[in-house]
């Protein structure tokens, strides 16, 4: 069965992409308890910024190997422009509201950002193919894969590992954990919760933007890019358990492999796979695979 190799490789590549796209969402939910629909917008912003910046960089004839740094920088910068603006300018005043209302606010913001992107970048597709082809390719099971895909896997490992280390190993991370578990008590103990929210929102959105930016060389960046990512990210995050980074990783792997298997062996069910997996997981583990322990109010 020489099919196994490609199935696994395809699954891992897709899982890596899913993880980077989704981990910011779970982080933001875990800390701020908000379901952030603008996540998809930041993915799109990162993609557009990365594509146009890298495109401009390469057009000017600068060293192509540095275009990867350009992709990263573009994502970081575009997030730093929009995320603090959104959090400080609007969300900050809304935390007291109902969960659903905040979700709807982020949905309204998503609509606004969609047209903002359209106003800035227009409706034409952007693509910057060179970074994708630059690193050559490798072979598994007789099939050629561009080495670029390993960057996605690498990014996933770095961000996942980095987050885990930050949360458990550093002081800032431990304070973040306290905010996750009980914001009120943390505030009472002197933690600047507001600042943590700002940093989390920015950092989580930045992860989405980086995902978008590094995906840009493999696709054509078009309007509506962010819409699909939202639902996929949600599915992964819910499967793994909202607020759990290892959960997001496991969720990404499950969904990635499930999709890869279905594409190779049962292409007809590909449409449902992700929702069916979500429904099945939720049916047995109502709060996802790794969920945060929440005390019950009596």
């Amino acid at each position: 069965m020489d099919q196994i190799g490609p199935v696994v490789v395809d699954g891992i590549i897709y899982s890596a992409w899913l993880f980077i796209a989704a981990v910011g969402l779970t982080l933001i939910y875990g800390v701020m308890k908000i379901v952030n629909v603008t996540h998809g917008s930041f993915y799109a912003l990162g993609a557009y910024a990365g594509a146009s910046a890298a495109g401009a960089w390469l057009a000017r004839g600068y060293p192509p190997m540095l275009s990867y740094a350009v992709l990263l920088l573009a994502a970081v910068l575009v997030t730093l422009v929009f995320a603090p603006l959104i959090e400080r300018g609007l969300l900050r005043f809304m935390y007291a509201k109902d969960e659903v209302v905040i979700l709807l606010i982020t949905y309204a913001l998503f609509l606004i950002l969609e047209d903002t992107i359209k106003l800035i970048w227009g409706v034409d597709p952007y693509f910057v193919a060179q970074p994708y082809a630059l690193l050559g390719s490798f072979e598994i099971g007789g099939l050629r894969y561009p080495t670029y895909n390993l960057i996605l896997v690498g990014l996933a490992l770095v961000s996942g590992g980095g987050l885990a280390w930050i949360l458990r190993g550093t002081r800032v991370g431990k304070l973040l954990l306290t905010v996750i578990h009980d914001p009120e008590m943390s505030r009472a103990m002197g933690v600047n919760v507001g600042r943590f929210y700002l940093v989390t929102f920015t950092f989580g959105s930045m992860l989405a933007a980086i995902a978008g930016s590094f995906t840009a060389p493999t696709v054509s960046v078009v309007p509506g890019l962010g819409v699909d990512v939202i639902v996929l990210s949600f599915a992964v995050v819910v499967i793994g358990g909202l607020g759990s980074v290892p959960g997001a990783a496991l969720g990404a792997v499950i969904v990635g492999l499930a999709r890869s298997v279905s594409v190779h062996y049962m292409p007809q069910v590909e449409l449902f796979v992700i929702y069916s997996v979500m429904a099945v997981v939720l049916a047995f583990r109502p709060r996802g695979l790794f969920s945060l322990v929440e005390p019950r109010r009596i």
């Binding site: 099919q3 490609p6 199935v7 490789v9 395809d10 699954g11 590549i13 897709y14 992409w17 969609e114 047209d115 359209k118 409706v123 034409d124 597709p125 693509f127 193919a129 994708y132 082809a133 390719s137 099971g141 007789g142 099939l143 050629r144 894969y145 561009p146 895909n149 995906t215 060389p217 493999t218 696709v219 054509s220 960046v221 078009v222 309007p223 509506g224 890019l225 819409v227 699909d228 999709r259 890869s260 594409v263 190779h264 292409p267 007809q268 590909e270 449409l271």
Partner: protein, 422 residues
């Protein structure tokens, strides 16, 4: 003040008969995608074409016999609506166009779902509607209409033409595979292509049919499956972002090295992705448009003028819009000639367009199917070859309209199954 008002009203009433003459502008509702993924490959090129053609016509600069100003001497005014949103929204907007904005006629609609929903409403509201782009043959196969027309051929033509071309281009072909988006357009395109190939090459094997979600964007797994299948031909009706992603992800992996790639709507990507599309790929333009357009006066006027104004060549959506406008104009003026120069009613325009034959930048359009409401045209396919940094097509084959469109009254599926009986 009251005297002035009376004078003004009196004056307007006196002038009204003048307004009733052909000088009142013709208000046309134009609907296409201005946002979302379909905007860039179809909606915006179509809107650009509309802007260009309407401006030229209003200045009386259309090539003969389209030389009259606007429609029959009356200038054209447009009301533009974005086709994005749910079907409910589109039906609401159509009703608004007709009943609140009081347009004289409507030209529009790219999405087959919207076309299917709008057609009965147009009929109910008795408003002449020209569906300029959507591909589903179901519109005139499922029902008959008096007020609804389509001046572009259906998508059946694309699949049948592709099959005919592939059979000649790749001798000894034994297997096919498909990569199409999992929605009506992709499903129909693949079904028609598969059925056609089965008729033309009996015993042909279907290795795999990949149907990823629309706008999935990531096709690594599907490409692996296709590469592993070893099919001789890979058929895809992908468009815009998905098509470009397929090319960007497939070429470096050699997808089109071992298999002959057939991209039925590939023309929309040929300029942007000229360097990425491998030589030898079969490229379709949904008809005799773009690189397959004939060298006639209309094409010269249209493509040169369009490119000069928009700094990019027109694609097939632009061509379809142009011929929709020209066909409607031809019908309008024919109706005017028949009723003594008066402004024609929707019924008269419809009667004039039925079974009409007219010529546009894509060549001859004959309203031969759907009881005279559905256009047929010849189609063309070619193979790509990069010359310098421009993508050109070689080995172009043209297929007459009757070989790629079913006869009037026969559904596409039946026609293909019958072995393309004339």
């Amino acid at each position: 003040m009251r005297e002035l008002k009376k004078l003004a009203i009196g004056g307007l009433i006196a002038l009204a008969p003048l307004g009733a003459m052909a000088q009142a502008p013709v208000k046309i509702g134009v609907v296409m995608f201005l946002s979302g993924p379909a905007a860039s490959p179809f909606g915006v090129p179509a809107k650009n074409a509309a802007d260009f053609v309407f401006d030229e016509l209003n200045a009386g600069k259309g090539p003969a016999p389209y030389g009259k100003v606007g429609f029959g001497g009356s200038k054209i005014e447009t009301v533009v609506i974005d086709e994005a949103g749910s079907t409910t929204t589109q039906v609401t907007e159509f009703r608004n166009l007709v009943q609140r904005q009081n347009v004289d006629l409507v030209i529009g609609y790219i999405s087959s779902g919207n076309c299917l929903a709008i057609a009965p409403v147009a009929e109910e509201l008795k408003k002449f509607t020209n569906l300029f782009d959507c591909g589903t043959p179901r519109i005139f196969e499922d029902a008959s209409y008096k007020y609804v027309f389509r001046t572009s051929p259906t998508a059946t033509m694309d699949s049948v033409g592709a099959a005919l071309y592939v059979k000649e281009a790749k001798r000894g072909i034994k297997s096919i595979a498909g990569l199409n988006q999992n929605y009506a357009w992709g499903q129909d395109s693949w079904n028609d292509f598969e059925a056609s190939m089965k008729q033309l090459v009996p015993g042909i094997e279907v290795k795999t049919s990949q149907m990823p979600k629309l706008f999935a964007g990531q096709y690594n797994a599907e490409i692996s499956a296709l590469l592993g299948s070893g099919a001789d031909v890979v058929h895809s009706s992908f468009w815009d972002g998905d098509l470009e992603a397929l090319i960007l992800q497939g070429s470096p992996r050699g997808l089109f090295d071992k298999s002959l790639g057939v991209l039925t709507t590939g023309e929309t990507a040929m300029h942007k992705l000229a360097a990425q599309i491998p030589d030898g790929t079969v490229l379709g333009a949904r008809g005799p448009f773009g690189p397959y357009a004939p060298d006639n006066a209309y094409n010269r006027w249209f493509s040169k003028g369009y490119e000069a104004r928009f700094k990019a060549p027109p694609n097939y959506a632009s061509y379809q819009m142009a011929q929709a406008i020209l066909g409607t104009k031809a019908a309008w003026e024919k109706a005017m000639a028949a009723n003594g120069g008066k402004r024609p009613t929707n019924e008269e325009v419809g009667a004039a367009l039925e079974r009409l034959s007219f010529e546009g930048p894509g060549g001859v359009v004959r309203m031969a199917n759907g009881k005279g409401h559905q256009a047929i045209m010849e189609t063309a396919y070619g193979t790509t070859k990069l010359v310098g940094d421009k993508l050109t097509v070689i080995n172009v084959q043209r297929y007459p309209a009757e070989t790629v469109n079913p006869p009037d009254g026969v559904t596409s599926t039946d026609w293909i199954k019958s072995g393309f009986k004339k």
